[in-house]
Symmetry: C2
Subunit: 574 residues, 2 copies
Amino acid sequence: MAQSAPPSITFETGPDRYKHWKLAFDGPIATLSMDVQEDAGLLPDYRLKLNSYDLGVDIELADAIQRIRFEHPEVHAVIVTSLKERIFCAGANIMMLRGSSHNWKVNFCKFTNETRLAIEDASAHSGLTFLAALNGICAGGGYELALACDEIMLVDDGNSAVSLPEAPLLAVLPGTGGLTRVVDKRHVRRDLADFFSTLVEGVKGKRAVEWRLVDSVHPTSQFKDAVQKRARELAAKSDRPSSGPGITLKPLNPTVTDTTITYSAVSLTIHRDKRTADLTVHAPDGPQPDTPAAILQAGDQFWALRAFRELDDVLLRLRASEPEIGTIVIRTEGDIDAVLAVDRTLVAHQSHWLVREIIQFMKRTLKRVDLTARTFFAFIENGSAFGGSLFELALAADRSYMFHDDDETNVIALSPMNGRLRAEGASASLAGAPGSHARAEAGRLLPMSNGLTRLETRFLGEPDKPAALLAHDGPFNAAEAEEAGLVTFAPDEIDWDDEVRLAVEARAAFSPDAMTGLEANLRFAGPETMETKIFGRLTAWQNWIFQRPNAVGEKGALRVYGQQGRPEFDFKRT
Amino acid sequence: MAQSAPPSITFETGPDRYKHWKLAFDGPIATLSMDVQEDAGLLPDYRLKLNSYDLGVDIELADAIQRIRFEHPEVHAVIVTSLKERIFCAGANIMMLRGSSHNWKVNFCKFTNETRLAIEDASAHSGLTFLAALNGICAGGGYELALACDEIMLVDDGNSAVSLPEAPLLAVLPGTGGLTRVVDKRHVRRDLADFFSTLVEGVKGKRAVEWRLVDSVHPTSQFKDAVQKRARELAAKSDRPSSGPGITLKPLNPTVTDTTITYSAVSLTIHRDKRTADLTVHAPDGPQPDTPAAILQAGDQFWALRAFRELDDVLLRLRASEPEIGTIVIRTEGDIDAVLAVDRTLVAHQSHWLVREIIQFMKRTLKRVDLTARTFFAFIENGSAFGGSLFELALAADRSYMFHDDDETNVIALSPMNGRLRAEGASASLAGAPGSHARAEAGRLLPMSNGLTRLETRFLGEPDKPAALLAHDGPFNAAEAEEAGLVTFAPDEIDWDDEVRLAVEARAAFSPDAMTGLEANLRFAGPETMETKIFGRLTAWQNWIFQRPNAVGEKGALRVYGQQGRPEFDFKRT
């Protein structure tokens, strides 16, 4: 199989550079229209027919959602539709999937999943409502995009249907949460979901409504009006500001060399011979804005937003372009008190729309760490700044090593950002009823995909401990941090160099597949949510199927689709 | 890779035929001692050294647990230990895994998982406590067996350790729930779990206690006494009878031909050319016992126990010996009222120890259906007996087709067995805190692995509907059943033959891998439990890794282990 993937790829874009989407604004309504340019795929090997998509199309979608949140606070509802006649979206491009390596397919699905979850995150936390206006055929990944929206309206033209034809047509699963959302979000009955998911032609009209696959159907002549009317109704429920200004997300402009990526607050150094990288995040320097007005003024240069945007970008680059870099050592440096001061500002003003967006962005970036299939070790050394929101990086790491210095100046610290705003609803949130995104997170500032804070996940066996640790006065030195269970190991000067070197060397020598599976299972202890189901269960099955000869072998369905001949299967079931 | 697997295998055994386990009784304490006979593996290709195991060893373990429940009600606690000096158990046999096909490995893991969950099920529901007495090295699957027990005691001899060396040694994951139980049941901190799971030599002594890996350690000289003392304490908490008699589980003695397996109440006909099978369950005939005394008297011949034991056995045979039979059509026949009468007896006397065991057995068998990676379609035709507990088979099926007869004599019916005994605790149970097995099931008689009844799972979007349907007076004819959403489709005489034939043909033609993944995702909507995590997430990742060249390729770790040379990995991470 071709191992084709763009040699280097950037995840940064902007509306003036979009090739595949049109973003239009009309007061409180934004309309995001898919209009995929056939010959503008990331690679020249395939044509993006019928509004099918590749990673490049999804990068623009992710960017558009982000910009609506930050740049257009006056937008209260988003219509997701298509500019192609009688076609909403045909899903992920099959020729692209066929030509991709296993790694590329898995990472493509991971990013598109994160993008769809970002839509649901905006619904749950940003006062935005997403309305999928299906003006035509909506297949596979197209329907999965619709499923990520709050409501789905389908044109009733005798032809337009929703479908998940992946299993019957390609012998793979819908790769972006479709099966999970059908039963767990839309509560389609499981037997109907089974039937639907084996039906190439999908379901249309009234049956689609009766089966809960869409919310309503409308004759062609009334479709546009109905969509506009519903969008206004949904927009009226928002708690977003009635007018701007927003802030502009400007390009990050990192300096990129063969082995380094350097941003303002984040830097990455790659050691290809060792299959490791060093990732360092710098604490804020100098005075920081401490009012909403000052934060608005600072815009995308406010450290909390800038540093986490850079972190997000470097994670995506690592995933896409450095598959062999399996072990990442995370460090921080600078003034830990400056981090804690920024945290205090964020918590104090968290009800302001922009501060809310910044906190939510930090949350999503930290989830991106959890979901990155690379090992993370945090090294906490003298001069580090692992406080509050930056300490989440140590909590997200698979292990943390803290240098136990004799004079006890090396410290970590917690802040309210490591906790939750209100204690009520704790047990309700543990219920983690899949689909109830906002409920599951219940006031937690930087929750993981499982709905719990990283402290809560870490101390599942001691449920009172997170609150006790958050009440601790001041920082923790290495002995205190180890005793409190906040770090994994705290070697002293005699042991430090050997211990951390050997830990990294040993990790980098293990089978990367085994480490991926190990981490995917150990990182998300505790309750499950729709999000962990999608990444933990659905994705794992898809990864398995993506390798099976019945899908990708010489006669596999994904290989022979659209060509002469039919797939040939080994019919053994496991 | 070798595709070696025994051509035909039976899951029936008994203490007098055990080769690998010794079962001893001392009042309220049973001691189950592993003493694996090296040269008595299911296949001659490997030797079961160091108390390592293959499927045959685990079949005996499953049998022993079952017999303790039914045959020895006077047993209140079970010590699980080994008769080998300084070795508890070395885990699954690596040479066996190396020589096995993908299907065999996956099914081996599935059965061993079910066996460990059966231990936890007995703890949660049968008043039994399991005490793992680790008298020596306890590695991999050995530690996973210990993790399934309620408590773990480890000898402190300077050498004996617990370990999960699968990832570092073999480039696969612990295959029997180890990672999930470490963080979700024993609440080992995730960073310590990460370190532990990469440590070939494991963890011993005080550190094993501090990290929650075991409950206590004891010097060799005091170990046996401490185990006995603790077992007595645990036994004292049981609600099981203080004396017998139990009932004897006698051999099932099916008649087996090349294409049929026929029991007293269950029959299977295999159509190899179509890759399908017909599975029929017969309702009880004639008068049935309706008091605990009469049920004790009937023993294993009581229909509810007999029919479900036969069903359980046929499912296991299908899994192990008929990998290409991908689609199973389930039918029932006989007197539906007789089924409902048995259900009433079971519910009325469910607090009697034997009735409780029978209901729990029915529950586990139905879970075995849910967890079998074959498509199930229920065909509800004239003369069928889909009532109450047998209607669970239709609810467990991926789809159900009910013949819509003109004279409306074809009916289905619900019984209290489809519901729950008490309504309280509903929201608590939805919490599904992994590990809290008994709490998750909260009075449900035949819950699925997700802790909900099949009716609740079916109607996730209409939470009041299960109670309303259970309150329905009398049976449902086809029109009523379809309207109520209790069956998928109800074709009439004109459509029936073609519709069901085409449904089966289409299903049998799809990629079996895609169907396995589809079903694994659609069957378990709703909350997640430790059980669904183990089967849905951990198993899926393991299946993926079991196929990767880094494990099973020419230079994969599972292939080269114990031979000259070291594994060679493709270090690309996904």
